[in-house]
C-alpha cells in the first residue's frame, strides 16, 4: 500500500515521457484515486514500455496484469497495464484508450508488448479471446481459454449468448 507512486512522481514521469516521445504520447493522467494512472497514445505504447522497462531510475521489469475494459454503451475500449518495478518496489498503471464502433469485422487494434514482457503473450491472448482486441505484432495471437471456433467475444457487454455450440443446446 505504502509504496505506490505519489502524484508528484507521476507528474515527473509524465513530463519525462513527454520530453522523450513528444507531447502527443501522453493522453491525460489521473492521480486522483488510490492508484494514479497515465494514459498513453496507442502509437507510442511499445516505445514507452521499452523505455520504462530499461530506464535506470524506473526499471518496470515486471508486468503484473493486462486488462481489457469495455465502456458500453460508449463506443470505446481500454487496455490497462499494471507494471511493477521489483528493484524500486513501485507500481505504475498505464491506460490505452481506443475508440471503436464495436464492429466484429474490424477489431480495435493495440500494439502488442509481448516482445518487451513475455507475460503479455498470454494476457493479450486472453484479451483477444474474451474482449476481441487485436494486438498487432503479437507472435501467436489465437484464442486461449475458449475453443478456437468460438463465435464472438463474451466479455463485451453487448455479447449475445449463442443458442447452441456444435449442435449442443446451451440456453
Amino acid at each position: 500500500m505504502g509504496n505506490q507512486p505519489f502524484s508528484t512522481m507521476i507528474e515527473k514521469l509524465v513530463q519525462e515521457i513527454k520530453d522523450t516521445f513528444g507531447d502527443t504520447s501522453v493522453v491525460g493522467s489521473d492521480s486522483s484515486g488510490l492508484q494514479p494512472s497515465i494514459g498513453i497514445n496507442a502509437a507510442d505504447l511499445r516505445a514507452v514500455c521499452a523505455w520504462l522497462r530499461d530506464h535506470p531510475s524506473y526499471y518496470f521489469d515486471f508486468l503484473a496484469n493486462i486488462t481489457a475494459v469495455d465502456y458500453y454503451p460508449e463506443d470505446r475500449f481500454a487496455v490497462v497495464y499494471h507494471l511493477t518495478s521489483i528493484p524500486f518496489q513501485q507500481q505504475l498503471t498505464l491506460r490505452v484508450e481506443i475508440a471503436h464502433d464495436r464492429s466484429l469485422e474490424h477489431l480495435p487494434e493495440v500494439p502488442s508488448v509481448a516482445s518487451i514482457w513475455r507475460t503479455a503473450d498470454w494476457h493479450e491472448r486472453e484479451a483477444f479471446d474474451l474482449m476481441g482486441i487485436f494486438f498487432t505484432g503479437h507472435p501467436d495471437l489465437r484464442r486461449i481459454l475458449l475453443p478456437d471456433d468460438w463465435k464472438g467475444f463474451p466479455l463485451r457487454k453487448d455479447y449475445q449468448d449463442p443458442e447452441e455450440y456444435h449442435g449442443i443446446p446451451i440456453k
Binding site: N65, H82, Q91, L104, W117, W122, R142, R143, L146, K151
Partner: protein
C-alpha cells in the same frame, strides 16, 4: 462470423499453429499430455512435439475449466463474488477471498478500521491454508516423481487443517469465511487451543517430511539441475511466489506491501540457493515451499499468541460489525495484489457510482503466469523431466482457466 474471420488476419495465429502441427518433421511426433493425465494436476493439455524421448516444443492448451469468473463478477455485487473467488485457487480459498476483500475494503476506505482481532484471525486462517496448499504441492510433487509416501503423509496432516477450517467456516474447501469488513463468525470456542495442539503435532512432522524427501538421492537426481529458471527469465514471464523466490529474488508481497497485520509479524522469506544443483532448478522450487511451511508455522504461533493475549475473545465482539449492508463505492479503478501460496494474486476493479456491481473485475491468477513459462522450460528436455518441471511449477487449473 467465424467464416468471415477465417480469411482475415485475426485468424493468422490459428492458421500458423495448425500449419506447424500438420507439417512436423518425419522424425517428429505429436503427443498430447492430458487433459486427463494425472501429472498435469487437473485438466490441462500439453501438446508436445517430440523427437524420440526429447521434447522439441510444448504448446499448452487451457480453458477446460473456464468458469467465466470475470463475467460473473461484473454481473453480481461484490459480496456475492466472494464465493466465486474461493473457486479460483481452490486449494487456498482463504487467501483468495482475503485478497478480494482487501481490495474492496480499500476502495471503501474502511481497511484501517478493521478490528485487529479480525485481521489476526484472517492472517491465521490464511497461513493455515497456505500450509495446506504447500502440503498438496509437496505431496503431489513426490507422486509425480515416483515417491508415494510423502503424498500420504502430506494428506494426513492436511486433513487436520481441513477439519479445523471446516469447524470455523462450515465448509471443507470453499469457505466464504472472510467477508467485506469482517468475518462470517468469530473463531469457534476452543479453536486456538486445538490449533496450538496441531502446531505441536505438526512441527516434528515437517522435519520428518524434509528428511524423507529433500535429501533422497533419487529425488535429487530427478530434480536437481532440471528446469533451471534464471531470475531474469522468471521476471520477464511474470512468475511470482515460490517460482520467483526459488530463482533467488527475495520478493514477497507480505513484506513488500505489508498488508493486513504482516508488518507486525516476524518471519523470513526463504529463497532458492542452488544447494544441490543450479539456482532456480526444480529442487529449489520444492525446497522453498518446504521452508515456507516452516515460516507459516512461525506466523501461526505468533497469531495464536496475540489472539490469546492482546486481542482476546470477548462476549460482545462482533466480527460483522463493519460489514456494509450495501457496498457503496465511488467510481474508481484499483488493482489489489496479495501473496498467495502460488504467487501474486491480483484483482483489478473498475467500480461504478451508485451501484454495487462493478464495471469490470479481472483476476490475475499466479498459476496462469507461472504456467506460461513451461514452453520456455520444456524446450529440449526429456519427457520425464517435463513432468518434474510441471510438478515444480505447482499449478491449480481453477486459477489458470478462471
Amino acid at each position: 462470423m467465424t467464416n468471415t474471420m477465417l480469411d482475415t488476419k485475426y485468424n493468422e495465429g490459428y492458421v500458423k499453429y495448425k500449419d506447424k502441427i500438420e507439417h512436423i518433421g518425419s522424425t517428429e511426433m505429436v503427443i498430447n499430455m492430458g487433459p486427463q493425465h494425472p501429472s498435469t494436476h487437473g485438466v490441462l493439455r500439453l501438446e508436445l512435439i517430440t523427437d524420440g524421448e526429447l521434447v522439441k516444443e510444448v504448446i499448452p492448451h487451457l480453458g477446460y475449466l473456464h468458469r467465466c469468473f470475470d463475467k460473473h463478477a461484473e454481473s453480481i455485487n461484490y459480496t456475492k463474488s466472494i464465493p466465486f473467488t474461493d473457486r479460483l485457487d481452490y486449494l487456498a480459498s482463504m487467501n483468495n477471498s482475503h485478497a478480494f476483500v482487501m481490495g474492496v475494503e480499500r476502495m471503501l476506505g474502511i481497511d484501517q478500521k478493521i478490528p485487529k482481532r479480525v485481521e489476526y484471525i484472517r492472517a491465521l486462517v490464511c497461513e493455515l491454508n497456505r500450509i495446506a496448499s504447500h502440503l498438496i504441492a509437496i505431496g503431489t510433487y513426490g507422486i509425480d516423481i515416483g515417491a508415494f509416501t510423502p503424498f500420504m503423509w502430506c494428506f494426513r496432516d492436511r486433513e487436520h487443517i481441513m477439519n479445523m477450517l471446516e469447524w470455523a467456516s462450515g465448509s471443507r474447501m470453499l469457505y466464504n469465511y472472510i467477508w467485506i469488513g469482517g468475518l462470517y463468525y468469530d473463531l469457534p470456542v476452543g479453536f486456538e487451543e486445538r490449533c496450538k495442539e496441531f502446531i505441536q503435532y505438526f512441527k516434528p512432522k515437517i522435519t520428518e517430511l524434509d528428511d524423507l524427501l529433500s535429501t533422497n538421492q533419487i529425488f535429487i537426481s530427478r530434480t536437481a539441475n532440471i528446469g533451471v529458471l534464471p531470475a531474469d527469465v522468471a521476471i520477464n514471464y511474470g512468475c511470482s511466489g515460490p517460482m520467483l523466490r526459488a530463482s533467488g529474488i527475495k520478493w514477497d508481497l507480505r513484506r513488500v506491501d505489508g498488508y493486513s497485520v504482516y508488518p507486525e509479524l516476524e518471519f523470513d522469506i526463504p529463497v532458492g540457493k542452488g544447494e544441490v544443483g543450479t539456482l532456480g532448478d526444480c529442487w529449489d522450487r520444492y525446497k522453498v515451499r518446504v521452508d515456507e511451511v516452516r515460516e507459516s508455522v512461525r506466523i501461526i504461533e505468533q497469531c495464536l499468541e496475540r489472539l490469546g493475549t492482546d486481542f482476546k475473545r470477548t462476549v460482545d465482539f462482533d466480527p460483522r460489525a463493519l460489514v456494509p449492508k450495501k457496498v457503496n463505492i465511488k467510481a474508481q479503478n484499483y488493482y489489489v495484489r496479495a501473496e498467495n501460496p502460488k504467487g501474486e494474486l491480483g484483482f483489478y476493479f473498475e467500480a461504478l457510482d451508485k451501484t454495487d456491481i462493478p464495471r469490470r473485475v479481472k483476476a490475475r491468477g499466479p498459476s496462469f503466469n507461472n504456467l506460461s513459462v513451461i514452453s520456455e522450460l520444456g524446450k529440449g528436455v526429456l519427457i520425464s523431466d517435463l513432468i518434474a518441471i510441471l510438478g515444480s511449477i505447482d499449478i491449480v487449473l481453477g486459477e489458470v482457466d478462471r
